[in-house]
Symmetry: D2
Subunit: 309 residues, 4 copies
């Protein structure tokens, strides 16, 4: 149960079987940092290429294919003052005939907005452009991690632009401090990667970004031996949830719901009919992202309706 302070020196824009940057044991905690989606660090300098650079991978001893990696997100904290966002809803989010009416930026340099992030006040404030009707628009700080996961099987190295069964760029705003996430282990050591912090984000990441910013992060890992899952799962104070990553959203729903049915039957003692009846009248779905190459839908069941185990 060691505590590792890890200062990254290089980053990856794929999630894959890269040489581990650190070996950690079941129960260990890692304190580290992540750069923003364009490679900007805590001093807002670009130190690596853009495209959701990942900190890691972390090799978790004892983790083997067929196990589950448990990652407790203990700290997700912006570590600088300014973040940035897109300024326009992505073309695929509106009716095709409306695409021409979008507020396309007229100059390249002006395609991003700048937001001020105040950890103490717990706020995120739009500061540029200053001339919209929104003015200095302020939102509550709600830091979340956009892209994280484990190495896929068979030597695949999957772009951090997208997501799949290994996790990846899910851009789900439910991945906040305090959440426990479960990943299927697909290679020896699991090879956990993390990055792409957002100070806040709307559902769907429809402008292609949250408020993109570098993070201080802390997480603790556990290995559930012989516990096989197929898609990322998670748990917070109020819900258990499963994550489906695919296109179209209909297929995300299929993946996430199938995974939840399995979970209810394997871990909550429900027979099949009971699981279906429960889901039918209590399930909730969140939209992760509808922007990346693979979209994300999340299937949630409130803990208050789950059978006590």
């Amino acid at each position: 149960m060691a505590l590792h302070q890890f200062a990254p020196t290089h980053y990856f824009t794929t999630i894959g079987s890269h040489t581990p940057v650190l070996r950690i044991a079941d129960g260990d905690t890692v304190v580290t940092t992540t750069v923003d989606a364009r490679g900007g660090d805590a001093s807002n300098e670009q130190i690596t290429e853009r495209g959701n650079p990942m900190t890691g991978p972390f090799y978790v001893e004892g983790a083997e294919p067929g196990d589950t990696l448990v990652v407790k997100l203990e700290k997700l904290r912006p570590n600088r003052l300014h973040g940035w966002t897109g300024k326009m809803v992505a073309p695929n989010i509106v009716d095709p005939s409306y695409v021409r009416s979008l507020p396309w930026p007229t100059e390249e340099g002006k395609s991003l907005a700048i937001w001020e992030v105040d950890n103490d006040a717990g706020t995120v404030t739009l500061i540029e452009p200053a001339d919209t009707k929104l003015g200095r628009f302020t939102l509550p700080l709600a830091p979340m991690v956009g892209c994280f996961g484990v190495a896929p099987a068979r030597g695949e190295a999957i772009s951090t632009a997208t997501s799949a069964q290994h996790g990846g760029n899910m851009d789900y705003r439910g991945f906040v401090e305090g959440v426990t996430v479960y990943f299927p282990v697909l290679v020896e050591g699991a090879l956990f990667h993390i990055g792409d912090g957002h100070a806040v984000q709307g559902d769907g990441e429809i402008v292609g970004t949250g408020v993109e910013i570098s993070f201080d992060v802390q997480f603790t890992v556990h290995v559930q031996k012989g516990k096989q899952i197929y898609w990322p799962r998670g748990e917070n104070a109020d819900y258990i949830f499963t994550v489906g990553n695919a296109r179209p959203l209909d297929q995300c729903v299929q993946h996430a719901t199938t995974e939840m049915i399995r979970w209810l039957q394997s871990d909550y003692g429900l027979d099949a009919v009971g699981a279906h009846l429960l889901l039918g009248q209590t399930v909730e779905y969140d939209l992760g992202n509808v922007f990346d190459p693979a979209f994300t839908m999340v299937c949630k069941v409130p803990k208050r309706v789950l059978p006590k185990i």
Copy 2:
């Protein structure tokens, strides 16, 4: 501002330009009843054919194409003791390879579950099947209307199985008492239909039903002259929202988001860039249904972030 007590004598399983059952004026209130999705009334007798039979249509004087019909849902109350649901998640909601593993009913008569609805206690309780691990599973009562809307243009009569710009079978659990709904008026008199009450429902209507039950309903209508909208909209204490009905869900997102962008700019004084920046970091999406021929996604913006007008 008359109050009409209306007792239906016949029902329609399409939403279309049927002969109106009642003519009402802007500001009038209607108190009436709806049968359940299989035509069952308050005494649980089937009095009309199944398939979401509609009460109405109500002709609203003065409403013309290009106007908006405002419907305030003032009362949505189950009026009998028992409702019913499907027992199995629909095949299109799970991975195709998992369909065989669903708990297919072995006898026809056993395909439905029965739930007891207690208006006073505010509960919905599973009573049959009694032999699942759920036992007598109780949920909070949360009545909502599954199918309602206005006649489509050009003589179309659209099945109450599905939905489109006119509304219809959206099966969105946000359509509860207290919500104000806006429909585009597409024919003279708007021709408002309502039915398909659910005592409670999970997101997506994934077992193909909520707790299906007959309702006492009360609603008040208004006409916004010359106000053109393209998709149903709604408003509750905390949110404004727009509804997109289509397949796949990706297209629902497009319809609903486009409609919201229009709304923010026309009614909330936002310039285009401001509207996009606001949406990007604050939008929320709800899943209406992912079961009917057309699916439903809802695009929501919290009122607390809207500019004061």
Copy 3:
């Protein structure tokens, strides 16, 4: 086996249970005309509202729900000199980010191209705009019917903009002279409608039109009593085929393939495994339309590989 000369006096822009314009018997032949998609007749005058106006419906005596209506397309012939097309691929057919780059028309009146149709020469020639690099671009005449079908069940009246199990606006360029088409009978008398002729069309109807033109048509109907099908089917000299109408295209493939599996087993004496093995290595798919509210995919099996019956 009467031959009916029918001159239409009015048209419908929905396919539904409208009052029949003519009652015909099993084996009868109808000779009639259709107007183009904007209601233009043989003299290129607009005589009815736009939106794929239908000639019909024709009531076929003896046809009842659960039967199949057989329609032999015997003549599909443009009956005037000029047709028209869209000039731009529809926004939903290109990448969302490319929509802005489409050649949007700058003036309303210029959104259509004009083509000259020469029945004798068997050619279709672009005449306006005259200033593209294509010049007077000539294609072989290949007349097909865009929209036809039978009334849907339960009083639905479905817009001729779209399609479903009853047929409708499939815009499949395989519906040419000589083809036999099968529709599920859904109401008494079947109520056959036909219209929306194209002098030629590319796959997908990607500019939103074929070369739209009025037609002289002749067809002969038969009723197959007690023969139940679920989606339109067809047959030409070389293929049997089934038609799926839905969104996205993936679902069209599901509908059409399922219908073909049924057909191979019920009519061609194939066991299930045989049907699947045959399909796997010989099936062909055509893209009907990818423009209308419902898209169309066609599943084809070459007659040369079918077991002799």
Copy 4:
């Protein structure tokens, strides 16, 4: 313009920046072999792990990102007597409610069918199972390559189960001998991979396989310097075509059509309106696969309608 005889000693189940097995020059020809989708070689022995193992990668000197790699498929020839196929249409190809009715294999070992491939006679004949109504069903031999392409950018290594802009597992039956294929070069040397031969295949690869078999292959490469394309393109005697790989099929259509519009304008001297008018009335689409994680649609324009350049 060397001719390389290359005997592979190992294979990859991802397409990525692996160490090249051979360096070749612009204009060079390679004669080599591929194993079948389960790693079976010319003597039908499994010599490598299953999952579309690739021969290569071949490093093409001078090829850099921003160039186009031209691959002429000169020989694609089964090199053994027996191939195999799936026996059942995949669950995602039929209506979800029909999945239960599929002929699911009752024993694991019986999930494959065996076909005899006769190069001299030019036939493929079903030999096992022998007890279907098809009997010894014979088809014309039509060898095609299922999976081939170039290494993706930024260190990605993409599973040979799927496809994207780099090519990959497109399973399009138009990739036959004599076809010239164009790939966007995404890394230095292009790194061309090839494998997954099919003796014959239906559209869509709907049973999850063609007649899977090992191949003798010969191809010649060229580099088009400074010629940037975005998706695979191809050319045969009668057509030019572009390939879109994604889900759902609708998105494949978008990718392929957008690429074709670019091609018509850049290489065939067409103005935008001319390109759109041409496509609208002459385009054809083929269905590549509708089985793999990414589906494939092909957009074709007949050479006979192209402007002479």
